[in-house]
């Protein structure tokens, strides 16, 4: 059945076209979250339907079989699902899932938002244990003996010594003639990056705000993953204190209480100093908050940490302020005035889901 593979490939091509056309829509829904595997993301697409003359909604009734009095609800939508029999004609409401490579999704995102590729900063060329057997040494195991080199040496030597007789061309290699293949260690640049998703989970960050953060985090991960071979993600939540959490809690936690943003920045700094040293890592902290900090003094402290410690170390620091009913949104203003002219700082206000695409463009559009 090679033929079906061709038709399937063509179908997937069409789906990808659809997806590309609808990417804007996916950028503002949480539909794709939780559908990401290691290398692929499973995307639900409505069955691509050819329009036809067919019956509409008012025929959403029919004949069924089974127990029940008048008024007994029958569970589920009757048109959905089919018996084990076969294909079924009414392709009405099926949702198909297609797998798309993350790489490909990132490429679509890059095209849609016109994102530049990231130039990994500095000389973070880590020596990876790659390498090929392209070197030659004069010692080694027999199994790696380079026959031609060894023979050439032996031949040269025996001619020089005058023992070579062309009529009886016998060449006996001596130990010093032997040459061996050797693995040359090739320094293979491998760029590593770490994303810090830092979220304010104080009482004022509601469900919708968190959803916006979730969606944004998903796309940022997807993009950066396509840019670095080695990407780690660290999730940090904070209210008045900051802590590292796993991905699951990051999106579900709902703390309440005050907000001390400096707690998060201090934790970040500690991580950057101890574990993710800027010599080895490209650093991308993203901080999401509704912009309500505990006190002006704490905000000053944040600005100081950013200016003196974090900004010099990171590739870029992104602050996304999600609008909420309770937040004053003061923190962004404070950052913008307190750190004016700092190139590595990007601050963006996001009013709602529709603003996500713009926020991503602002964050990733500089190619840092």
């Amino acid at each position: 059945m090679h033929r079906i593979e061709r038709d399937r490939a063509r179908f997937r091509e069409i789906v990808r076209g659809r997806l590309r056309a609808d990417l804007k829509k996916y950028l503002s829904t949480s539909e794709l979250l939780g559908r990401r595997g290691e290398h692929t993301v499973t995307i639900p697409i409505p069955q691509i339907e050819l329009p036809r003359f067919h019956f509409g909604d008012n025929s959403k009734s029919g004949v069924g079989q089974g127990p029940g009095e008048k008024g007994t609800p029958i569970d589920g939508d009757p048109k959905d699902g089919e018996g084990s029999g076969g294909a079924g004609e009414d392709a009405g409401h099926h949702v198909l899932e297609v797998e798309v490579e993350l790489e490909e999704l990132a490429r679509m995102l890059g095209e849609e938002l016109e994102l530049p590729r990231i130039e990994p900063k500095g000389d973070k060329a880590l020596v990876a244990d790659g390498g090929r057997y392209s070197g030659i040494r004069d010692a080694g195991p027999k199994s790696l003996r380079h026959f031609r080199r060894t023979f050439k040496n032996a031949l040269t030597r025996s001619i020089a010594e005058g023992v070579f007789d062309p009529r009886a061309p016998e060449v006996i290699p001596m130990p010093e003639d032997e040459r061996f293949r050797w693995k040359k260690r090739a320094p293979k640049p491998e760029s590593s990056a770490v994303i810090f998703h830092v979220m304010d989970v104080s009482g004022s960050m509601g469900r919708e705000q968190k959803d916006v953060v979730r969606i944004k985090a998903f796309w940022i991960d997807t993009w950066l993953r396509s840019q670095y071979q080695n990407l780690e993600v660290v999730y940090i939540v904070h209210d008045a204190v900051a802590k590292i959490v796993d991905q699951q809690s990051f999106f579900s936690l709902r703390e309440s209480g005050g907000t001390k943003i400096s707690s998060a920045y201090e934790l970040l700094l500690q991580l950057v100093r101890d574990k993710y040293r800027p010599e080895d890592w490209n650093l991308y902290p993203f901080h999401y908050s509704d912009g309500d900090n505990w006190s002006a003094r704490d905000t000053e402290r944040c600005i100081a940490i950013l200016r003196d410690e974090l900004l010099p170390r990171v590739n870029q620091f992104c602050y996304g302020q999600v609008k909420s009913a309770y937040g004053s949104g003061q923190f962004k203003k404070d950052l913008d005035t307190g750190l004016e002219g700092q190139e590595k700082l990007v601050t963006v206000g996001v009013n709602d889901r529709d603003g996500i695409a713009d926020a991503i463009r602002a964050f990733l559009g500089k190619g840092r």
Partner: protein, 451 residues
């Protein structure tokens, strides 16, 4: 398919035994070629409607994707596939158990008998395998000449219209030709007899008023030859599959009736009885909101047999609609717990509405008549002297989905080259949709019953 597709010696033996029994109980079938395939391959075959030689199209890929996902997740499983050809090809799935293979073989013979005996299948081409291959070649040639995108776009446009058919046309034409042959036996002996039949089927004569809109367009629309050819192919394949739509309940019911009878008549080992019961009741299980054609069909044949009717005659002359009309009565509705369901506007849920026999039967007949398709007739091909087409939807209480109707109409207009119109109804409002292939206009007026 690299693996062997022949049956094992043991299964060949069983196949022969089951065929013998099937013939002895009165089933009438020609050669049936059984082949063994993997679960994945049978999904590919199913996506192609049973014909591995079909033309390339993304839609088959989509159907395959859906079927194969269902298989991987364990949601659906196909046991067999049989096509209406001579010889009939039947694919058994390698993962079936021995008992299941026996059941499936008996089931397949039921279908093979039905394909051969049922009158609605008389006009179908038993050499369809070759014909499909020929279609594939022609479409691939068009792709070579005009490019994949062009051909694909045009093909999609044709497929949009593949239900604008007259379900009764093939049989009507077939009868006419046969009657002529009966009057003049020399005609039947003529080698051109097939050609005559063929011509009747190509829709050359379709003029308004006609329900064979596809045939009309294929012959009369101003199209380049390759496009006309594609449209004819789409039409031929649509008419080929139509009888299967019209007899789904009967066909599955008949095959289930016989697999049940043959297997319990001595083919099963004692050790297989429980597995058989499990498998059979799985196939004939019904969920509350849907009618399982296997279940409904088998019950109808059993009821007919109890009443002393000749079930072999019934399977010969009926389609689903007329079979329901002949068999289902008050007692049947009560015994099989049939009901009409509908959406309760107040609760927003789908609920049992009534078990009143008349209402239930009326609804079944409405759903099954005309192959389950909306009745759309071409009533004028020169509207206002400008060569515009007028289509009329014969409204039976079920409305058309208007957005899709408008999109579909656009395709008609593009094929036809000038404006086309369709008249339909939504409750007591007559609605018009017009399209010139690019734009869509709509209009309405109150409905007045005429005549």
């Amino acid at each position: 398919m690299t693996k062997r597709t022949e049956l094992s010696a043991q299964l060949r033996h069983e196949a022969a035994r089951i065929e013998r029994i099937a013939r002895s109980v009165g089933l009438d079938f020609g050669d049936v070629v059984f082949e063994m395939v993997d679960a994945r391959d049978v999904n590919a075959l199913a996506a192609y409607g049973g014909f591995p030689v079909r033309y390339p199209s993304w839609r088959f890929g989509m159907d395959f994707e859906r079927l194969d996902k269902g298989r991987q997740y364990g949601l659906s499983r196909i046991y067999e596939l049989v096509i209406n050809t001579d010889p009939a090809y039947a694919w058994l799935v390698r993962t079936n158990s021995d008992m299941e293979q026996k059941l499936v073989m008996a089931h397949v013979l039921g279908h093979a008998d039905f394909f051969r005996s049922n009158v609605w299948f008389q006009p179908t081409d038993k050499g369809m395998l070759d014909r499909m291959a020929d279609h594939g070649t022609r479409i691939r040639r068009a792709i070579d000449l005009h490019g994949q995108d062009t051909v694909e776009a045009f093909l999609d446009m044709c497929l949009v219209l593949d239900n604008l058919l007259d379900p009764f046309l093939p049989l009507r034409e077939h009868m006419k030709v046969r009657a002529a042959a009966n009057r003049d036996p020399r005609l039947a002996a003529e080698p051109s007899f097939e050609a005559v039949r063929e011509r009747a089927l190509t829709g050359g004569g379709s003029r308004p008023p006609t329900f064979d809109v596809l045939g009309f367009l294929a012959e009369r629309a101003p199209l380049p030859e390759w496009q006309r050819d594609l449209l004819r192919i789409v039409r031929a394949e649509a008419y080929y599959f139509l009888p299967q739509r019209m007899t789904k309940i009967m066909n599955e019911g008949w095959a289930s009736f016989w697999h049940s009878r043959i297997l319990t008549g001595g083919v099963l080992d004692a050790s297989e009885v429980v597995e058989f019961a499990d498998c059979h009741s799985g196939a004939t299980a019904s969920a509350p909101g849907q009618l399982n054609p296997y279940k409904l069909g088998i019950e109808m044949f059993r009821t007919a047999e109890e009443r002393g009717l000749d079930i072999f005659r019934l399977r010969r002359v009926h389609n689903d609609a007329s079979f329901v009309d002949a068999i289902i009565d008050e007692d049947f509705v009560a015994r099989n717990a049939l009901f009409l369901f509908g959406r309760n506007g107040r609760t927003g849920r789908t609920e049992v509405e009534t078990r009143e026999f008349r209402v239930v039967k009326e609804r079944m007949l409405a759903d099954l008549s005309w192959g389950g398709l909306p009745r759309i007739e071409l009533v004028d091909d020169d509207h206002a002297g400008r060569g515009e087409l007028i289509l009329r939807h014969h409204h039976d209480g079920r409305d058309l989905q208007l957005t899709h109707a408008a999109e579909t109409l656009k395709s008609v207009a593009r094929l036809w080259g000038t404006s086309v119109h369709i008249e339909t109804r939504e409750e007591s409002t007559v609605r018009w949709i017009s399209s010139d292939g690019a734009e869509i206009r709509t209009g309405e007026r109150p409905y007045e019953r005429v005549g």
